[in-house]
Amino acid sequence: MSIILRNISKTFGDFHALKDINIEFQSGELTALLGPSGSGKTTLLRIVAGLEEADRNVNADILFDNRTVTSSPVNRRQVGFVFQHYALFRHMTVFENIAFGLRVKPRDQRPSKQDIKDKVNELLRLVQMETMAGRYPSQLSGGQRQRIALARALAIEPKVLLLDEPFGALDAQVRAELRRWLRKLHDTLHVTSIFVTHDQEEALEVADRIVVMNRGSIEQIGTPNEVFHRPATEFVMQFLGDVNVFHGRIESDSAIFNETVPLTENRENAARLLVRPHDLTIQSTPGDGPALPAKVYRVLTAGPIVKVELIDRHNRLIQVHLSHDSYNQTMVKLHEEVYLVPRESRVYANNDAWTGAYVI
């Protein structure tokens, strides 16, 4: 089922949680709403579910398969919602939790006892929890609770699955495993799904499409590849992955970053050069193009990549990520003077991308 949101805003008192959101979720897609806390991503998810109401506005509309659902309450929307802290019914067994959505159906639509039993068992198999039917939520681990919450949401055969920080409360290892499992599950069920996360790695790994949000607005919508390699705004570039930021200014038609005195951020002609740590090459000579002199400060070789920390002439820390192979070729030494050459970089002036020349 496709979901279309038109002109959705939400204010809590003076706080604008969402500012005129327009977005379309394709049928069968797994979309991540990614952003820092306070960006409005959870509010947006709750508005889609009907747990929260958008500000009243004649143009505001929520469409499920091109039918408006703006005024239907949450219990009529047939959405599967997985809560951040699971919200399992604590006084019911796992079996009863999953059966709940079937048992509360109106009498004429309610499945028979046997059908409910079969359906619950099928879902327990799907989430690999067959042996846990008789347990209570308090007897389960975090990861197990998450799976039961998912099975419970799937029991009503929702047209759309909404997950609020589904892995937020789990430890790193369970998280990675559940992530993969959710992706696999989505590939078998193909139900339109939206999940909220503040973890860029999670979004990049699991989602078909990522909606990057900041301060109640959408910064960029795209595939993981697009948002990572072609960030539309400075915020997206900074939020997705590590980045080195150099401050400079725009002068006539080029961006200058080679000032001897570092510039403060708040200037009208301020410009920022953003380079990802893996997009910097370390050279012993400046070469032809732009190159930044720096001194090697620390080298961390433990791990899959080599992390080199350098200090530039303004005493700022710069990070460079190298593969072990290229590290072995360049052989940087501690306290050595080297030159950093950006293979790929972006310049932003007043939050707009700067496409002109630059000097570092």
């Binding site: 949450v74 219990n75 919200a87 604590r90 006084h91 709940f100 159906k105």
Partner: protein, 282 residues
């Protein structure tokens, strides 16, 4: 040795008072309990049975005593359900929704705890009494509230007003609204959500509130005394009956009726312990 055991089981740092302090505190607590709770209870029972079992039985089956028992039960049967419904509605609204004036309402619910029961009774006399605000109108329509059963019920409802709500508000606030939201998202109606999710989660707190509310409803003296008028066999509840008998120097009968009240209190305590034990093991 004893100290060692204490130390080894107590893992909280800085909480290992010397043995002498431990013992002193225990003695003080037990002494207090004995002096102010257990001894009065023993005296009530001793006095009640001092003239023999048959006189005790005669005292509690006497016409006016039975009328007082009936009235006490009637008042409890009305007041407890009324406050149950109110308490549930109020705590549901206060714990699950955000709105302006919430803390004012919580303060108002506490009002009956804060004012003296005698004042509560007087409020009703001033409102519904013959010279009260609504008195003339009530007299015109031949409705009697003060010095009659309705007044006693009203005064009891007022005094026992906070028990259920006070018990439920913190419990429901702590549980939050996540489970209710989950139930709604699964298609449950408001009523289904309440009956299948909210109610089972608060059932022991609710029972506890009902028991306390009932105990107070049956034992209330001050407020009821002001509005009752002390008409024997008609508007005397058990506590009032005890007072009347005592003032007539009929000590055996007074203590016999009092032992009935004490018995009701003991039943309440047992029920309360069962509920507490159950809620812990659920």
């Amino acid at each position: 040795m004893f100290i060692n055991i204490l130390k080894s089981t107590d893992k909280r740092p800085g909480l290992n008072p010397p043995l002498i302090v431990n013992m002193a505190i225990t003695v003080i607590a037990l002494g207090f309990l004995f002096l102010f709770v257990i001894m009065p209870l023993i005296i009530v029972l001793k006095e009640a049975f001092s003239a023999g079992l048959s006189l005790w039985w005669a005292s509690i089956t006497e016409k006016d005593a039975l009328a007082a028992l009936r009235l006490t039960l009637l008042v409890a049967v009305i007041a407890v359900p009324v406050n149950l419904v109110f308490g549930l509605a109020a705590s549901w609204a206060l714990a699950k929704f955000r709105f302006k004036g919430k803390s004012l309402i919580i303060t108002l619910i506490d009002l009956p705890f804060a004012v003296s029961p005698v004042v509560s009774g007087l409020i009703y006399v001033l409102l519904f009494g013959l010279h009260g605000w609504l008195g003339p109108w009530l007299a015109e329509h031949d409705i009697q509230i003060i010095f009659a059963v309705p007044g006693i019920v009203l005064a009891t409802v007022f005094v026992t007003f906070p028990f259920v709500a006070r018990e439920l508000i913190p419990l429901m606030s702590e549980q939050g609204t996540d489970e209710e939201q989950a139930a709604l998202s699964l298609g449950a109606s408001g009523w289904q959500t309440f009956r299948r999710v909210t109610l089972p989660n608060i059932k022991w707190g609710l029972m506890y509130g009902i028991i306390l509310c009932n105990a107070r409803a049956m034992g209330e003296f001050g407020a009821v005394s002001v509005v009752s008028g002390h008409i024997r066999g008609e508007t005397n509840t058990l506590p009032l009956q005890v007072e009347v008998l005592y003032n007539e120097y009929n000590f055996v009968a007074a203590f016999a009726v009092a032992s009935l009240l004490a018995g009701l209190a003991l039943v309440t305590l047992v029920l309360k312990s069962i509920v507490e034990w159950k809620s812990k093991h659920d």
